[in-house]
């Protein structure tokens, strides 16, 4: 057998553009592709440059092909876009308002600007709104966006006194503001089970946990958005504790939460004790040992102890979603459990 030549850097352009020897090669540089897009491709202009993307792509995907980093909060690859956070908005020529990049499909001839003054203002305001009303201390991504767009959440005044549990009164009623402080969604942390905590003072209402609990992953429907307006919140029926609800503790809501509002109890306890050191953690991919589905598990290990289990979103078996066993069933690995059993 003939030995294959290694493809080197020099040989690559030659291979890629080599015409068939029977067709005469016209002199001069290789002409640019024809302007009309082929049937399954859409041509649009993003920030002055022409982009070609497959039909049906979103503006977000199109921006990505151009190397443009678009901020997103409520978007996740493994869920349908709900376009509620509005941080990914871009300016589309001919549209009266800005459009959400995460859900708007590309069309031929669109002219899109992703960094205009209008876009920057909207993104900054959205981030300021969130950071001034929600505890974003465990949302590093949101914080970095806030810095990128120069947000100043403190300019709306000091946070109003935490109001306790959110009211379950009729929708559309609120106390008049005092003109000094900024309303927040601060409220007590909900710890009603051993597996995870719900700290809705950190919730930006991205709807992802509701999607994951519902028809996009678990089909359990234990939680939904309740209330209206600024009083909207994620809730079980009549705010019953999780153990009384339909929850099956798959933890897929934690897996999609972008702000740490939903958190492993183990992680929460370690953070409270000041022992959570994300930078020192190692991540190791393995296969869940429990059943034959074969979900990929990413074990987060700190000081030689498993502290959390997640699953990569691009994992083709379950797209990042797990069940209670894969998500929480690793405690047996821990030394103290071994001691107990001996």
């Amino acid at each position: 057998m003939e030995k294959k030549k290694p493809v080197t850097q020099e040989s690559f352009p030659f291979i890629a553009s080599a015409p068939s020897p029977t067709v005469p090669v016209p002199p001069g540089p290789i002409p640019a592709p024809p302007p009309a897009a082929s049937r399954n491709e859409v041509a649009l202009t993003i920030d002055g440059k022409t982009a070609r993307v497959p039909e049906g792509s979103t503006l977000l995907e199109a921006c990505k092909t151009q190397g443009i980093d678009t901020p997103t909060l409520c978007y996740l690859e493994n869920l349908n876009p709900v376009n509620v956070c509005r941080v990914c908005v871009v300016e589309l020529e001919g549209a009266r308002t800005l459009v959400p990049a995460c859900s708007r499909r590309v069309e031929n001839g669109m002219v899109v600007r992703t960094d205009s003054e209008r876009v920057r203002l909207s993104r900054r305001m959205v981030l300021e709104f969130l950071a001034s009303s929600v505890d974003v201390s465990t949302a590093p991504e949101l914080q970095s966006y806030l810095e990128r767009y120069g947000g100043q959440p403190e300019r709306y005044g000091p946070a109003a006194q935490a109001a306790g549990e959110p009211e379950a009164g009729p929708a559309g009623v609120h106390a008049a503001p005092d003109g000094l402080t900024a309303a927040t969604v601060a409220q007590p942390v909900k710890i009603d089970n051993d597996l995870y905590v719900r700290d809705y003072g950190k919730c930006i209402l991205c709807y992802k946990c509701v999607q994951a609990c519902g028809e996009e992953a678990q089909n359990t429907f234990a939680i939904a958005v309740a209330g209206r307006g600024f009083d909207s919140r994620i809730s079980t029926e009549f705010s019953v504790p999780l153990p009384d609800s339909a929850c099956v503790y798959c933890g897929n809501c934690i897996g999609v939460c972008p702000t740490g509002a939903l958190m492993f109890k183990s992680e929460y306890d370690m953070r409270e004790a000041g022992n959570w050191k994300e930078s020192e953690q190692q991540r190791t991919d393995t296969i869940c040992p429990y059943c034959g589905v074969g979900c990929t598990l990413t074990l987060h290990v700190q000081d030689n102890q498993i502290v959390k289990a997640t699953s990569p979103l691009d994992q083709e078996v379950t797209r990042g979603h797990l069940c209670i066993k894969g998500r929480f069933g690793w405690q047996f690995v821990r030394g103290k459990d071994k001691k107990k059993s001996s």
Binding site: A176, L205, T220, D231, F238
Partner: protein, 623 residues
């Protein structure tokens, strides 16, 4: 999905409330009058809102036992049903007294005695909503009840086996307390002459309002005697394509606020018939824009007109099922339209064989439950379907993907009632009325400081000043400070702008919008800062909460306004810039029209603030 329903079993009343909508529980089949309409088999989720109404009316609140039973019947997760119920202002998720007084304290009522009523009730019953569940009655503040022509207004509701609702306007604290005294008996509201709401009643040149006061609203006979259903016969003779052609030729545009050409919508839905046999007609009667009451007057005074209009629209576009979504605070309109639908069905104007021909169309009436946002067309679809009234992202537009995912024709009440005239007298003749850019006649809602508040019908083209004259001029002190045009989502204009033509193009030219055609003047004694704060509070209350710009923006807007007007030294300087930026992100990045317009009235008033201040009573005149 495994339905997980915990908690106590339903009590007799709770079960009866749910069964009143769904029919008694039978194994193997669900029997309900709603289900006899041969709708394609699908989840029964769309019955959630009627079921919640039934529970709230019978029990007085949405109790866990009743909700769980309803979820079992509808195969719905309780968390989802709770989220839907908790969305609406008229439902209570906690026990409360059987009798509830909803006192309107919105703009028009605020100027006409609502604060005194609230103060009196607070003295007698404690702060709004604070009464214990065991108390006899409680009271709540309410956004605009659409009775601005007869302000101050209130809605009293009594739950129980024989529930009732009664809108009282004009009213007083004593009248409300007297009405609430006897929850067993529905109070007789003082008779209100139609001429009170329609001061032009009986005038020859009226088109939309011509029957008002000339017929008993309950009487189909009267309606037929006044030329009713002639338009439907004509429409049937013309055939769908010709009717749509007339509507296009009339250049009728939507009267709900967005001013979209009606003919284009009709055509799109008609065209969709080849790919989508099942299509829907939706009449948006969720009139909730503060200061707007034109649709209520039509529905209360000439209900058959709307039913006939919907039938023409349904037959022309090929929709066999129509939904009429009435706001929950309109008990009289709901009763009269329900009656009209039954009558029309009985006499062959609705149902399987309309006019004894092979034509079928029927109407199902749905009641809103206290949510301004449900007037947004896609939020309205979600509300009918049994979801939270959260707007959908557009595109796709309703004519492609609407109610139940089908192509849907959605029109406002006033838009639809223009159709019989267009069919009878021709689209071109209609287009000859008004101005080239705004054809036909228009209903304007005049309230606030005018001598004769009410609905006025004029051909497009009249100026703001002539509308005020029509209503008897500025009342109160008689000296005008400013006019709110288009409602809470509209624009404040100064007396300098009184010659603005009240047309779509005329208002657009000065950066305003006709909106729902509210015209509300304020005399020079009114403290406009209070009105602006009320508008800001309204949007905060009515934002659905789905998108960040509107959910938090409406809160920050109200806070910045109260900083600006509260005189707090700290941050006052920053407030105008903050308000401008909040306004921009809401109008640029919100999902729907509520967010897009939530800052419009406030920004327009601040832009004219110096003028208003100069005009305000007590300000030093410049000599």
């Amino acid at each position: 999905m495994d339905l997980h329903i915990a908690g106590q079993p339903p009590e007799r009343d709770e079960r009866a409330a749910v069964d009143s909508v769904l029919g008694p529980l039978q194994f193997g089949k669900l029997e309900s009058h709603h289900l006899q309409q041969e709708r394609p088999a699908r989840s029964q989720r769309h019955l959630l809102l009627p079921v919640l109404h039934a529970i709230n009316c019978r029990i007085g609140w949405i109790s866990p036992g009743a909700l769980n039973y309803a979820c079992g019947r509808l195969n719905l997760p309780p968390a989802e049903a709770f989220g839907v119920a908790d969305f609406y202002g008229l439902f209570s998720m906690t026990p409360r007294p059987r009798v509830v007084i909803h006192v309107c304290d919105d703009i028009a009522c605020l100027m006409r005695g609502a604060p005194a009523i609230c103060e009196h009730l607070a003295g007698r019953l404690g702060p709004a909503g604070a009464a214990k569940p065991s108390a006899k009655l409680t009271w709540l503040r309410s956004p605009c009840l659409g009775l601005c022509d007869r302000a101050p207004a209130a809605l009293v509701s009594a739950a129980g086996r024989e529930p009732w609702e009664c809108a009282l306007a004009p009213t007083s604290a004593d009248a409300l307390l007297a009405a609430a005294e006897q929850p067993e008996r529905r109070p007789e509201p003082p008779p209100v002459a139609a001429s009170l709401s329609v001061p032009q009643q009986g005038q020859q040149e009226l088109r939309l309002l011509r029957r008002v006061g000339r017929l008993q609203p309950e009487s189909l006979e009267d309606y037929l005697a006044e030329g009713g259903y002639e338009a439907l016969r004509r429409a049937v003779d013309l055939g769908p394509e010709r009717v749509i052609r007339e509507v296009i030729d009339s250049r009728l545009v939507g009267r709900g606020g967005a001013a979209f050409p009606a003919g284009r919508k009709w055509e799109a839905v008609y065209r969709a018939r080849s790919t989508q046999p099942a299509r829907y007609l939706v009449c948006n009667a969720d009139e909730s824009e503060p200061g707007t009451f034109k649709d209520r007057v039509i529905m209360e005074e000439d209900p058959f007109l709307l039913i006939e209009s919907m039938t023409i629209a349904g037959l022309a576009t090929g929709c066999e099922q129509g939904f009429l979504y009435i706001r929950g605070e309109y008990p009289v309109a709901f009763e009269r339209l329900s009656h009209a639908v039954r009558q029309a069905r009985k006499h062959g104007f609705l149902g399987k064989q309309i006019l004894n021909l092979d034509l079928s169309f029927d109407i199902e009436i749905r009641r809103g439950a206290g949510a301004y946002i449900c007037g947004e067309e896609t939020a309205l679809f979600n509300s009918i379907e049994g979801y939270r009234g959260e707007p959908r992202n557009k595109p796709p537009f309703p004519t492609e993907v609407g109610l139940f995912g089908r192509p849907t024709l959605v029109n406002n009440v006033e838009t639809l009632v223009n159709v019989p005239g267009i069919v009878l007298w021709g689209g071109r003749s209609f287009a000859g009325i008004g101005t080239p850019g705004s054809t036909g006649t228009k209903l304007f809602c005049l309230s606030g400081h005018v001598a004769r508040p009410g609905v006025y019908e004029v051909p497009f083209g009249a100026s703001l000043a002539s509308l005020l004259d029509l209503a008897g001029g500025v009342a109160g002190t008689g000296r005008l400070q400013g006019v709110l045009v288009g409602g809470a989502a509209g624009t404040f204009l100064s007396p300098r702008e009184l010659d603005t033509p009240m047309t779509f193009e005329g208002t657009r030219a000065i950066g305003a919008a006709l909106g729902s055609a509210v015209v509300m003047p304020f005399d020079d004694s009114v403290d406009l800062s209070k009105i602006l704060l009320r508008i800001a509070a309204f949007f905060r209350d009515e934002s659905c909460g789905q998108c960040v710009p509107c959910r938090v923006g409406t809160v920050r807007q109200e806070e910045a306004l109260s900083r600006l007007f509260g005189g707090h030294a700290e941050g006052v300087g920053q407030a105008p810039l903050q308000l401008a930026e909040i306004g921009q992100v809401m109008s640029d990045a919100s999902i729907c029209g509520l967010g897009h317009t939530a800052s419009s009235a406030i920004q327009s008033a601040l832009a004219r603030w110096a003028e208003f201040s100069d005009l305000r009573q007590g300000s030093v005149p410049e000599d």
